[in-house]
């Protein structure tokens, strides 16, 4: 679904070539965020449960446990390159790659933009701004391919779900 959402964001951002409608631009921003959100949640649940077809219902159930605000907290640490003390041992001394920092930063930028697009009617979105946000999502997909399955990337996926509740 995440690829479809990304494509939808691209299409919506370019609709109405002369005078773009705010509805189209806002939905483009929202789709761009949810494209990245679903990419990361999909990767996280496959990492935790595996990708077998018979585990799909379990993966879909687990997806519902991801909380946007908790994901934001985890992404902030990875975007700034400074994860929490509780999470640091999981990295085993690995550094967070620039591409992973980009993904985390883009997640933060897109989540905030999506909130404004969906709820802040005082804001006016311009096409250039929206196209840039869609490109942020596109680049995140590309950056993710580079870091996928590395220890920091796996740690990031786990952190998106559990960082808020880690103890000790």
């Amino acid at each position: 679904m995440h690829y479809d959402l990304l494509k939808q964001a691209q299409q919506l951002a370019k609709r109405e070539p002369r005078r773009p409608k705010q509805a189209s631009l806002r939905r483009a921003v929202s789709s761009a965020y949810y494209a990245l959100f679903h990419l990361l949640v999909d990767e996280a649940t496959k990492l935790m449960i595996g990708g077998k077809a018979d585990r799909r219902p379990l993966r879909l159930t687990l997806r519902r446990a991801f909380v946007h605000a908790h994901m934001k907290d985890a992404a902030r640490g990875f975007a700034s390159g400074a994860v929490t003390n509780r999470l640091r041992p999981a990295l085993s001394g690995s550094t967070i790659q620039p591409q992973l920092r980009n993904v985390a930063q883009a997640f933060l930028d897109l989540q905030q933009a999506r909130h404004e697009a969906d709820y802040d009617m005082l804001r006016t979105f311009a096409r250039a701004e929206v196209l840039d946000l869609v490109v942020l999502a596109e680049r995140s997909f590309a950056d993710w391919k580079i870091v996928k399955s590395t220890l920091p990337a796996d740690t990031f996926l786990i952190a998106l779900l559990v960082q808020k509740t880690l103890k000790g």
């Binding site: 006016t124 311009a126 840039d132 946000l133």
Partner: protein, 88 residues
């Protein structure tokens, strides 16, 4: 809340690319209620190259964060085109 002081700080910096013609800065609470800064860079012509834009976004974030030191707010960077602002 509009931040004219930070806008002026950004305008006075000599090293921005020529495409950047103006700044707009606002403070406020973000989606999760945390203090944050929004920086809109107005571009005379759209930067087609995504790498260049990403680099500029990174530079802006670092410069604004350093200016707020020691307790920086989170920075959200957005780009707008000058002709779209006129159209509004």
């Amino acid at each position: 809340m509009h931040d004219a002081s930070l806008e002026q700080h950004l305008r006075e910096h000599p090293d921005w690319p020529a495409e950047v013609v103006d700044w707009h800065v606002e403070h406020g609470l973000d989606a999760t209620g945390e203090d944050a800064v929004w920086v809109w860079a107005t571009l005379a012509v759209p930067m087609a190259d995504a790498d260049t834009r990403a680099e500029l976004r990174h530079l802006i974030r670092n410069r604004v964060t350093a200016h707020q030191d020691p307790d920086p707010y989170w920075v959200y960077v957005r780009f707008r085109a000058a002709d779209e602002l006129v159209a509004e």
